[in-house]
Amino acid sequence: MEVKIENLKKQFGQVIGVKDLDLNVRDGEFVALLGPSGCGKTTTLLMLAGIYKPTDGTIRFGDRVVNQVQPRDRNIGMVFQSYALYPHMTVFGNISYPLKLKKVPKQEQMERVERVANTMGIGGLLDRRPGQLSGGQQQRVALGRALVKEPDILLFDEPLSNLDARLRLTMRSEIKQLQNRLGITAIYVTHDQVEAMTMADRIAVMNQGVLQAFDTPEDLYDRPKTLFVAGFVGNPPMNFADVSVMAEHGGFTARNESIRLQVPAERGQKAAAAGKVRMGIRPEDIHVVDEGDAVTAEVVIVEPLGRDAMLDVRFGSDQFLVLADPQKHIRAGDQVKLHFDMDSVQFFDLQSERSLLWN
């Protein structure tokens, strides 16, 4: 089922929850709504579910405008962060509840619940109550309940936030595989960018009720269209420094009082006209080198991450995060030489905060 959101707006009294949202979700696509808390992503999801009525704009499921359609007539399944299982019913009761409300015959109810429960790996727990289940099992029951009525659209509201890290990893791939196999359109709200990046076909990044970008994970990471997206996507986050890009000696140079870097011509060209710009570079594109044409910086903090060591370095007035080989045994207070790999450097306009490269 295709979902088309046009000009969607939601206002709670004076507070604007969602502003002028346009989003097209293709049939069978997995879309993540990503953003910090309070950005309007859950509000959008609840409008899709029919719990909230939009203040303005339209929501279309296929060709049908569903603005005023009751939740039960939308044929959607939803999984909540708190699982929202009915504590007084057994697992069977929970999963079969949507079917019971649809007046599906008893025999068919049993078959369908059993099938879903087996898919979810909770076939042996049907007569338990939610209180007797672990978090992961409860999550599976909630997913089973959402799937059992064969919905056109699956809505997820941060379904993995309450699980421990390891379980989150397995559930992540399980949900993705399931959605892939069943081909159901899925809209997934999360504040965890790793979740969004790994699961979604496309990610809608929201901030303060406004859609910032709607792109594939790769595009968001390599070609961020706004400063917010560049700073929000990626962990550890992108480093920023204000520089001027100038044409020099047939090439382009980005410089401020402490750095002076060669920029590839194709990127430098677009940034050179704008005067003072904000340069963005990801921590993994900065390397600690022993010698060469490099910037010297002082290490403030070292955070060992296992595979890498994250260095908090300072040069001039800028503070950057850099990933280094832990074998180098760098300590706080050391002086290090940094080489900037400028092939994937980003430039943003200081006023509009939009990318100078990708608009």
């Binding site: 939740p71 939803m78 909540f80 007084h88 949507p98 409300l101």
Partner: protein
């Protein structure tokens, strides 16, 4: 240092250090409590007396402290050795008992010096007598004592005090109970002739050392109990002591309903002998007209039941729905409604009795339903009480609904349930403990209601049990309290039954709820 270590290691029969420490503990208690007595009697009492207040509290307190002082000292001695009990049981017990003996001597000397305890001065006629046929035979006289001065001689037979015949035992008791300087008109047979002599009692110092022996035995027993007392019982014993007055009340109720009359907790028959068990008090169950109202007890019980059930049903229905609306829906005036309900909850019902009477008498004129909800009708009466109970119920229910996460309700709506069905199938089961609690409170409130039924029911046909109970307590005729107790007991039975079955829900009020959903 070495000597000390040596004495600690030797498992001798007695350890002097430990004995001295134990005695010291006891003495600290003695000194501390004595100080309290001194403060009470020597400072507080004159102070209070100086502002001309007639008071007996300090005296009573001082007497109480004097009474318990020795026992607390012995308990202190006993508890002091408890930690050694497992290592050297024999030594611990011996130490404690020896310490007790020392403390007993100290305390007894104190008693002797200050004329306390066993040495407290008692009333006396200053003569001794033994049991003889027909009375008490005078055995000896204190020289110059009151008896000798009044003319009593050795060999006199005291047959009666005034006209009441006495034996040696009853005479001793009479003397002991009399106040200082009370006259005893003794009827005396001397040499076959009967005379009468009046002797006035005096307070005589009591120096009978023989009385100390039982005291010592008690002291040692108290110490032994203190040594071996299971510490975990202490809170229960204290709680039981506090609870005792309440328990005695219920105990009396049960005894009274099955006896002719009672004196304290002792059932008595018509002649004043112990016994007098009877089922007559329960006659009202089988048609006996004990109130003179000529109405069956079952009619009254039915009225009570109608009021209670109607109240429970209406309160539950209205408060659960109102609570849901207030918790989940946004409408104009919601906030004002909430605060207004809270004010209503504190509103004294009595002030509205007269306006409600007018409302009820008009309601009674409404065709059809007026038959049920008007003045002097059980349902009408319960409606009034429902109105007073609702503010509490609505707030309680709102609180319970507030605790159910929104997501559960949203989930039900998405699953395909209507709002009504969500309320009924998903939300209500989750606040079952709250529903049960409120239902029970409303039922018991209706069952025990007195003021409103008393006001709005006239005649015998519509009264409920509490009003009936009030009718039994007649101002002019003697009241059969045992019968009142029986009716009260009868009224209590359903309440007991409800609590026996519902206490599980009332106690587990947190269990069901929204557990497991998060």
């Amino acid at each position: 240092m070495a000597a000390l270590a040596h004495s600690d290691d030797t498992p001798g029969v007695l350890d002097v250090h430990s004995l001295l420490r134990t005695i010291r503990n006891g003495l600290i208690v003695v000194v501390a409590l004595s100080l309290i007595v001194v403060i009470l009697t020597a400072f507080l009492r004159p102070l209070i007396a100086s502002v001309k207040v007639d008071e007996s509290v300090t005296t009573t307190l001082a007497q109480l402290v004097i009474l318990v002082l020795p026992y607390i000292a012995y308990i202190a001695a006993g508890s002091a050795v408890r930690d050694q009990l497992s290592d050297h049981p024999l030594r611990a017990v011996l130490t404690a008992l020896l310490a007790t003996l020392v403390l007993f001597v100290v305390i007894s000397i104190g008693h002797f010096v200050f004329h306390l305890g066993p040495f407290v001065p008692t009333s006396s006629l200053e003569m001794t007598f033994t049991e003889a046929e027909g009375g008490a035979l005078v055995e000896s006289l204190v020289p110059g004592g009151v008896a000798e001065e009044a003319g009593v001689q050795v060999g006199d037979l005291i047959t009666a005090v005034r006209r009441d015949p006495v034996t040696s035992g009853t005479l001793s008791a009479l003397i002991a109970r009399s106040a200082e300087d009370s006259p005893f008109r003794l009827r005396i047979v001397r040499g076959g002739e009967e005379t009468q002599l009046t002797v006035r009692t005096v307070l005589a110092g009591n120096d009978d050392l023989g009385k100390l022996l039982p005291g010592l035995v008690v002291a040692l027993i108290v110490t032994a109990v203190a040594i071996f007392w299971p510490g975990q019982w202490t809170p229960y014993v204290i709680l039981l002591a506090i609870l005792l007055p309440l328990l005695i009340g219920y105990f009396w109720l049960i005894i009274a309903t099955f006896s002719y009359r009672t004196e304290g907790l002792i059932p008595l028959d018509g002649q004043g002998n112990v016994g007098g068990w009877t089922l007559n008090n329960w006659n009202f169950l089988f048609g006996a007209d004990i109130s003179g109202l000529n109405v069956s007890i079952w009619q009254i019980t039915l009225n009570s039941l109608i009021i209670a059930v109607a109240m429970m049903v209406i309160v539950l229905l209205v408060s659960s729905m109102a609570g849901y609306a207030l918790s989940r829906m946004n409408f104009a005036g919601r906030r004002a409604f909430l605060s207004f309900t809270l004010v209503l909850h504190g509103f004294p019902a009595v002030t509205l009795l007269i306006p409600i009477f007018f409302v009820m008498s008009y309601l009674g004129k409404v065709p059809l339903v007026g038959e049920f909800i008007g003045f002097n009708k059980p349902v009408g009466i319960s409606l009034v009480m429902v109105a007073f109970e609702l503010p509490l119920g609505v707030w309680l229910m709102k609180g319970f609904f507030d605790n159910i996460p929104w997501d559960i309700e949203r989930s039900a709506l998405i699953d395909g349930a209507s709002r009504w069905r969500t309320y009924w199938e998903i939300l209500l089961p989750q606040i079952r403990p709250g529903i049960l609690a409120l239902g029970i409170f409303a039922f018991i409130g209706g069952w025990n209601a007195f003021l409103i039924p008393q006001t709005y029911s006239t005649g015998a046909g519509t009264i409920n049990l509490p009003v009936f109970l009030r009718q039994l307590i007649n101002e002019t005729a003697p009241v059969n309290w045992n019968q009142v107790a029986a009716v009260g007991m009868f009224q209590l039975i359903p309440v007991f039954i409800i609590f026996i079955f519902a206490q599980e829900y009332l106690l587990n009020i947190y269990a069901g709820g929204t557990k497991g959903s998060s």
